[in-house]
């Protein structure tokens, strides 16, 4: 069984500390990294990918430092960057053939793999389209297809759903769920709802520190009996926001339904709710504040 191990990872950019003593062990499963913008998620992913060097600490793949593994480690990786990069005039099929070539896949096998993954991500009919003409969701699917060409044991998805509409996000989530068998999938996002029912472990990164790493149920236990929903008048909202940590707000008839987080019942009419991953995210990162 494959194992990825991070040992005391620190990363500084000049005087700014981006990552602070991150140690983790990953085994096959989906690991979701939740964190606000600038929390260090992308930096951590790039260190795992050996794109950048940590200031201190090391990454091990099956017990070997990735620095020493080189080609064999890269052969085990699939990476979907935040914004799928491409040459502007390249067609989908050519792009996948090119990336497959970079991955060292022989031509005859590559053609089959490209066609297989084009069908899997439902882009076969669009294979001769230029990538620049595709929608955001289609580009992300191209990103997934290129990452899967070498059948990676470690799949890293850096905010893959950013900029996608809800329908595309659901489609993308199903695709990831299908790929998650016997692989380590590292998934960074700040859209917590994408992770519901998908992730095996939640990692919360806050200002470069690992706040939590646990199964979603256990992580959510910390929020148990702290999530409340209350219907208020619109003019009461300012007061509520000043007094409590507020999550989702939605219109409900002539009133406003507010989700808020507090250790005891905040208002007489408040109803206790089961915490979700979105609550967890908002609890930790609302308005960039940490708790």
């Amino acid at each position: 069984m494959n194992e990825l191990c991070l040992k005391s990872i620190y990363k500084n950019y000049k005087t700014k500390q981006v990552l602070d003593n991150i140690s983790m062990i990953f085994k096959p499963g989906v690991y979701s990294f939740l964190g606000a913008n600038g929390s260090g998620k992308t930096t951590l992913m790039r260190i795992i990918l050996n794109l950048i060097k940590p200031t201190k600490g090391a990454v091990y793949w099956n017990g070997q430092p990735i620095e020493l593994l080189g080609e064999s480690y890269r052969d085990a990786i699939g990476y979907v960057p935040q914004h799928v990069p491409f040459y502007p005039n390249m067609k989908v099929y050519d792009f996948l053939m090119y990336i497959g070539t970079l991955k060292g896949i022989a031509n005859h096998a590559l053609k089959e793999k490209v066609e297989y993954w084009l069908k899997q991500v439902n882009l076969y009919d669009d294979r001769y389209q230029k990538i620049k003409n595709l929608s955001g969701g289609m580009k992300q699917r191209v990103g997934i297809a290129q990452a899967m060409l070498n059948d990676p044991q470690l799949l890293i998805l850096d905010e893959p759903t950013a900029g996608l509409d809800p329908k595309e996000r659901i489609r993308f989530r199903s695709l990831i769920a299908n790929l998650s068998v016997n692989r380590i999938i590292l998934y960074t996002t700040h859209i917590a709802s994408d992770l519901e029912g998908l992730t095996d472990y939640v990692c919360i990164l806050n200002n470069g520190c690992l706040e939590q790493l646990d199964e979603p149920e256990n992580v959510l236990k910390k929020l148990a009996k702290q999530v409340w929903e209350v219907d208020i008048l619109p003019e009461e909202l300012i007061y509520i926001e000043e007094q409590y940590k507020v999550g989702a707000i939605e219109k409900h008839g002539g009133r406003i339904r507010v989700r808020l987080y507090h250790h005891k019942k905040p208002l007489p009419q408040a109803v206790m709710k089961e915490p979700t991953l979105e609550d967890l995210y908002l609890y930790y990162f609302s308005e960039g504040q940490s708790t």
């Binding site: 790039r46 990918l49 050996n50 794109l51 950048i52 060097k53 080189g70 080609e71 890269r74 052969d75 990786i77 990476y79 960057p81 914004h83 990069p85 491409f86 040459y87 502007p88 005039n89 053939m97 090119y98 990336i99 070539t101 970079l102 991955k103 060292g104 022989a106 031509n107 290129q146 070498n150």
Partner: protein, 366 residues
């Protein structure tokens, strides 16, 4: 690896700027082309000259040119050429005498020996080889420079700008194999540009000189003439025929092109922005020409001018290396400019390749 080279080759040729520049260069050449004109009588007059030229020929030519009643006829060019052959010999003798008057050093001795061997008493219709040589060192050189720059300045920089570098660095082949592939593609592209330019130069100059229908039959002539008939090389101390000089020029043009293209590739791998990479490559190729022309350095032939003949574009041009006795003396050993230039090119090529390998091995995304 072959697959990767093929892809890089395909991507290189997808750059529209290459085709735009190619069309621009061809259009400019077509608009500015000049023709060689000589009447059939003049051409036939050359046929009557027996090489090498004798004292009798010179005397006869000078007598005719000095005669006031001389009627300007088609053969006048032949007499001028005979007179020029003697004048060139006289110039060499004058220089030799001046050199002998100075305190002798091993460099002076070498120059005197070389100049004593120069023999310009040989004339043919040299128009085609001179046209070809001038074109290769002029328009051809500029075309090679521009096409190499537009083809290569973006080779690494575009990966950086589009973000494609993230795939390269996380895929099995990695940056090192990609560098190898891009290096092979650079050399192939350079060869295509070089061979294309040489073939074009040969054909285009046949067209220019052959526009006078009667010159076609003399196209192959003139290659055995001494290089001193080449206007830029009249004072050259080298005993070379125009054919030998053309071969040397082609060699320097090839090595210079390879050297320059690897430098362009190295710049592209170091500089992250395409535009900066483009500017640096342009500066390396065109700045020496610009400085030399602005300061009129070659007319002075001072030490700064001597330094500039060892810049890549001037080495590629070749004729500056042969126009005078440029040398470097290490203890008693006199090394002539062409050998210095050759060594310099080889050192730059090897060190650029080593740099590319070492730099990119340690390359990181940030």
């Amino acid at each position: 690896m072959k697959q990767l080279i093929w892809w890089e080759w395909k991507l290189l040729w997808q750059q529209k700027l290459i085709y735009i520049m190619l069309v621009a260069i061809l259009s400019l050449l077509w608009i500015s082309k000049t023709y060689f004109n000589m009447s059939i009588e003049e051409l036939n007059a050359f046929e009557e000259i027996q090489n090498p030229i004798t004292e009798k020929d010179i005397q006869e030519a000078r007598e005719i040119l000095a005669t006031k009643e001389f009627e300007i006829g088609p053969e006048v060019n032949v007499f001028y050429r005979i007179d020029e052959a003697q004048t060139l010999m006289d110039k060499q003798s004058t220089i030799i005498n001046q050199l002998k008057a100075r305190p002798q050093t091993s460099a002076l001795e070498k120059e005197i020996t070389m100049r004593e061997q120069v023999n310009t008493m040989y004339i043919e219709k040299t128009e085609y080889p001179i046209f070809l040589s001038e074109f290769l060192g002029g328009e051809g050189l500029i075309a090679i420079g521009i096409l190499l720059i537009v083809g290569l300045y973006n080779l690494f920089a575009r990966d950086q700008q589009t973000g494609m570098i993230q795939y390269t660095l996380t895929s099995k082949f990695g940056r090192c194999k990609l560098v190898q592939a891009k290096l092979v593609v650079t050399l192939l592209y350079t060869m295509v540009i070089y061979i294309g330019t040489v073939i074009f130069s040969v054909i285009f100059n046949i067209y220019r000189t052959g526009s006078h229908v009667n010159y076609w039959m003399y196209i192959a002539e003139g290659f055995n003439s001494p290089i001193q008939f080449h206007s830029s090389l009249s004072m050259s101390p080298y005993t070379l025929t125009l054919f030998e000089f053309l071969l040397i020029q082609l060699l320097f043009l090839l090595l210079g092109s390879i050297c320059f293209s690897i430098i362009c590739l190295s710049i592209s791998s170091v500089v992250k922005a395409s535009f900066i990479s483009f500017l640096f490559s342009m500066a390396i190729f065109f700045l020496p020409f610009l400085i030399v022309n602005l300061l009129n350095l070659l007319a002075e032939r001072g030490w700064i001018a001597k330094l500039f003949i060892y810049t890549i574009p001037y080495i590629m041009q070749t004729k500056r290396l042969f126009e005078a006795f440029y040398y470097l003396q290490i203890s008693n050993k006199v090394i002539l400019a062409p050998f210095i230039a050759l060594g310099l090119l080889l050192v730059i090529i090897i060190s650029s390749i080593v740099f590319l390998k070492i730099y990119n091995k340690k390359w990181r995304y940030i």
